[in-house]
């Protein structure tokens, strides 16, 4: 092998850097699901909680396209209940604690959606 010394040192440095997140986080606390504050007065969301937890972003995209492009502004859920399609006026009516619901989980998972540059959160109004 040409330049064996440099190559091996380089490979070791690369391996150390590449695995650094693993070493830096060894021994730290496990990921805990954030304690989101659920709406107090409402028991039933648009769809079951497992689906909402995993797919709410896909559902919101479908809602947007159906409402804006097809003028279908009513969502009939799998249980047959009808909901007006609106992030601001339907979702946020119950989920009115933005900091302890949306934001808490988004920050824990390092996702930063820019819904609120246009849509208005209940407490902020702006």
């Amino acid at each position: 092998m040409y330049n064996a010394k440099a190559v091996i040192v380089g490979a070791v440095i690369f391996a150390a850097l590449f695995s650094s997140p693993f070493w830096l986080n060894v021994g730290k606390a496990d990921y805990k699901r954030p304690d989101v504050v659920l709406p107090k007065n409402e028991k039933e969301c648009v769809e079951p909680v497992e689906y909402m937890r995993a797919e709410h972003m896909a559902l919101l995209n479908q809602w947007r396209d159906q409402a804006l492009r097809n003028e279908k502004r009513v969502y009939v859920s799998s249980t047959g209940k009808e909901w007006t399609i609106s992030l601001q006026n339907t979702c946020l009516k119950c989920h009115n604690d933005y900091a302890n619901f949306c934001e808490k989980c988004h920050i824990a998972n390092s996702v930063y959606p820019y819904c609120w540059t246009c849509h208005i959160t209940p407490e902020g109004k702006k």
């Binding site: 003028e71 969502y75 799998s78 540059t117 208005i120």
Partner: protein
Amino acid sequence: MNKSRRSFLKVAGLSAFALSSGVAALSSTAQAAATMPGSSYKVGAAALKARRWAMVIDTRAFKGPEDYQPLIDACHKAHNVPTIEGSNQNIKWFWLDKFDSAFPDDINAYQTAAIKDRMFPLLCNHCTNPPCVRVCPTQATYQMHDGIVAMDYHRCIGCRFCMAGCPYGARSFNFMDPRKHLPKEVPNPTFPTRMIGVVEKCTFCAERLAVGQMPACVAASNGRIIFGDLDDPNSDVRHALAENYSIRRKPNLGTQPGVYYLI
């Protein structure tokens, strides 16, 4: 092992087919998983429906620009439209201009004073052949089946092709965050604002039509603006057009505006 070119191509083609169909199957199952089985979408029961929405503005019934102010206020309140005074970056949904500017094809230096000095209300014409829709590279602006030219701000990339395409100046670009020019409590908390870098315009109040209300300017006009279905011969707009002389902006461009002016 000595493969011929022919057998190599056969295997390569088969592999490519198998891989691509696998990817297609994966993506379609992912899409199906995102939709809750048994759910569906429908039009609201109270929604107003039409084949072609159109507006007829009786400019003779407005005495001066101050008569239009309640309409402008109603529109801008309903949609959280900011006012950016003394700037060429103002946001226009419903605005006023003189006859010469609004109808530049109608060149006549000896027009009656009543028409020459009158202010005309201007808004998006919701054209039958909208040039803005043709030039939009992301389909952020599109024509709905009822003739409304709508905007999906989620998709707008702010390229401003639509502003160059629109012959009526009906589109405004958000050069800055519009919330800086709105009060802390926005005028209509049930409607979103826009963000920096997107283009916006009049929507013929699609969100009001969906709940059975007339557009904000029509509701505030005391019957001086008529709104209805152009495809229905018995509609109010068709009666108004049949009984009065009407003009449209820049008709020679062939965009077929949906806003008619009685003069």
